[in-house]
Amino acid sequence: MSLFSVDGHDPRGAGAADGPGGPDGAGSAFDSDGVGSAATDTVVMQPTPVRPSAVWIKSLRKVYGDGDAAVHALRGLDLDVPHGDYVAVMGASGSGKSTLMNIVGCLDVPSSGDYLLDGIAIADLDERQLSLVRNRKIGFVFQSFNLLARTTAFENVELPLVYGGVHKAERRRRALAALNLVGLGDRIGHHPNQLSGGQQQRVAVARALVTAPSLVLADEPTGNLDTHSSSEVMSLFDQLNATGRTIVLITHEEDIAAHAKRAIRLVDGLIVEDVRLAPAEGLPPRMASPDTGARHAAAAQGRAIRGAGA
């Protein structure tokens, strides 16, 4: 459990932006654990040696089945998501966006092609290291929330830290900070079935960011929510991105995608459209040019987030 040093994450609170030293420190920890120098070599060959991209994908292919029955879900896809970016992935069902999501989330492995997550070559990792990467580098938010039943909001948020080997007092501090961040500090003892859909999804967001991951992956996070809860959750994502968190979210809805700084459209396993709506640095579009009534509240919460992270 020493692959990533827990201490390396400590100075950064749950809601804090990734510090510049974070990924580099993690990379060297990998090296010292004998994961293989190939990963580091590839990182060095990156065009931006200062800081590797959060997600860097080259010629990614994924084929299910073989022979005549083979289904090409991804057909040589390239993608570079720098830190701090906020990407919406769109596409019809069958376009390969879920496959892309699973590979980016280290839940699945590509048939061919390269994938570097925060400079780490995922293909070189064994299963134990993959679970560590999922634990430390990625925060998942699912359409169906996927909270553990009969388990309190606090324990749900705490779960990734348990698997990360964080000791109890630190777990408690970070889980509470994350729950306060999503505005559920008063619901920590509630079970999922005692929470509304929007609240459940906010617990899931707290769980996704409690490990201070390099990347938050959201798979249609508002798909099961009403309009009001949707805008709550999306403003949460906006605030997270405003504090520097990299976010990739899958969505069907244009107005959800409009929250992102960049919209990517997938068709038949290839990116056919890649539109930048706002620069990767700086505030997400809805916060930069607010056109919703939640502007003041969002700004206030944004300050609160920075405060909590400090």
Binding site: N146, L148, Y163
Partner: protein, 409 residues
């Protein structure tokens, strides 16, 4: 990942489905309890049989008829030798009067039968109606509780008098004083002259107090007929003279029956041989009981596997979530393995309690004797069962692919 946390997850998993966990635990409980209790019963019945044999009488030897193993050969023997295939009163008299058996002190011919006895509407079956001589009582370690024994005079006069055991007293007379009352034994009236002191021990089918003793002549006259005796009871002169007495009896009777040792139509057993035979019998009995109990423990183990497989299938999505959140394979494996082991160990512990408590009760007249090693064994086996039978489902959980697990409805 910490063991303590994984343990907590496992406990939560068990608590989430209390009834199911309870029933699975019950399976192991019954298995472990049965092993402990049945071994104790086997042990207890062994002890009871031993006690029963020692209560038969000190220095007791039994001469019993034996079907001749070489019957054909005997039939083809030539000459005028007369075959005496029965034990007779003459044999008993020979043993009693001969001066070639100095180690024999008392001899009593015995004819036994099982009879239904009735007294004013009450009916009971007496397992052993013993027709014999008065000398039988001291040989068989019986003593008179109330009344008197019958006498040699009664034997000679063929009087229908009887001495009954305590079980017969209870079954026929209840609280009435049986002395002087007349019971019908196979339709023949016998007058109760005495009761035997209770010996205790034994079971329903093997009750040493379900007995009646009457003069040999009257029993032969009215119940068994004048054929062969059932046995001749002999008391050796001293505790360490049983073997010598056995040899003398054998040689005397072989002579009297014109037999050789290979064609002997009788056998002489003493207490020691009875004991060892009984011991090997109860040993087999105990092993048999333990085997039955072990099977129920095995079934309990299969129950654990079954429930854990169901649990893993049911919680596939939870496993997927945990894996997506970075749970390593070991944590998932550990969680489900701990659940299985907890089920079986808790069941095992309760089974030990049940077995120990159960062995405090008398089972069909047998007082179970706890064997400490059986407790350790049963409990240890239950823990191992949890590990072995839990590893299949736990492995299945740990090997689940996170995507497929997350998609599982």
């Amino acid at each position: 990942m910490r063991v303590r946390e994984v343990f907590r997850f496992a406990l939560r998993g068990l608590r989430a489905n209390k009834l199911r966990s309870g029933l699975t635990t019950l399976g192991i409980l019954i298995g472990v309890g049965a092993v402990i209790l049945l071994i104790a019963v086997g042990q207890g019945s062994g002890a009871a049989v031993q006690a029963r044999i020692s209560s038969l009488g000190s220095n007791l030897l039994m001469v019993t008829r034996q079907a001749n193993g070489f019957g054909r050969a005997a039939a083809s023997r030539t000459g005028t030798q007369s075959r005496t295939t029965n034990l007779t009163v003459a044999d008993a008299q020979l043993l009693a009067t001969s001066d070639q058996d100095p180690d024999v002190s008392v001899v009593a011919p015995v004819a036994t039968t099982s009879q239904t006895a009735t007294y004013s509407g009450a009916t009971t079956t007496i397992n052993q109606v013993v027709g014999t001589y008065p000398a039988y009582l001291p040989i068989s370690n019986d003593s008179i509780a109330t009344g008197t024994s019958f006498t040699a005079d009664d034997v000679n006069a063929d009087r229908k008098v009887i001495v009954i055991g305590q079980t017969v007293v209870t079954n026929l007379f209840g609280t009435i004083d049986p002395l002087g009352k007349t019971v019908q034994l196979g339709g023949v009236p016998y007058t109760v002259v005495g009761t035997l002191a209770a010996k205790g021990g034994g079971s329903t089918f093997n009750d040493p107090d379900n007995v009646a003793v009457a003069p040999l002549t009257s029993v032969q006259d009215s119940l068994t007929g004048f054929g062969s005796l059932s046995e001749i009871a002999v008391q050796a002169a001293g505790a360490n003279q049983a073997d010598a007495a056995q040899a003398e009896i054998t040689s005397l009777l072989l002579q009297a029956h014109h037999d050789t040792s290979t064609t002997a139509d009788f056998s002489v057993t003493n207490e020691a041989t009875l004991l060892s035979t009984a011991q090997s019998t109860t040993q087999t009995f105990t092993v048999l009981l333990a085997a039955v109990a072990a099977i129920s423990l095995l079934v309990g183990g299969i129950g654990v596997t079954n429930i854990m497989l169901v649990t893993v299938t049911e919680r596939t999505r939870e496993i997927g979530i945990r894996k997506a959140l970075g749970a390593p394979r070991g944590a998932i494996l550990g969680q489900f393995l701990i659940e299985a082991v907890l089920l079986s160990v808790v069941g095992g512990a309760l089974g030990v309690v049940a077995g120990v408590v159960g062995s405090r009760f008398t089972v069909d007249g047998i007082k179970p004797v706890l064997v400490p090693s059986s407790i350790l064994l049963a409990f240890g086996v239950s823990a191992v069962i949890g590990l072995v039978f839990g590893s299949l489902p736990a492995n299945r959980a740990a090997k689940l692919h996170p995507i497929e697990a997350l998609r599982h409805e």
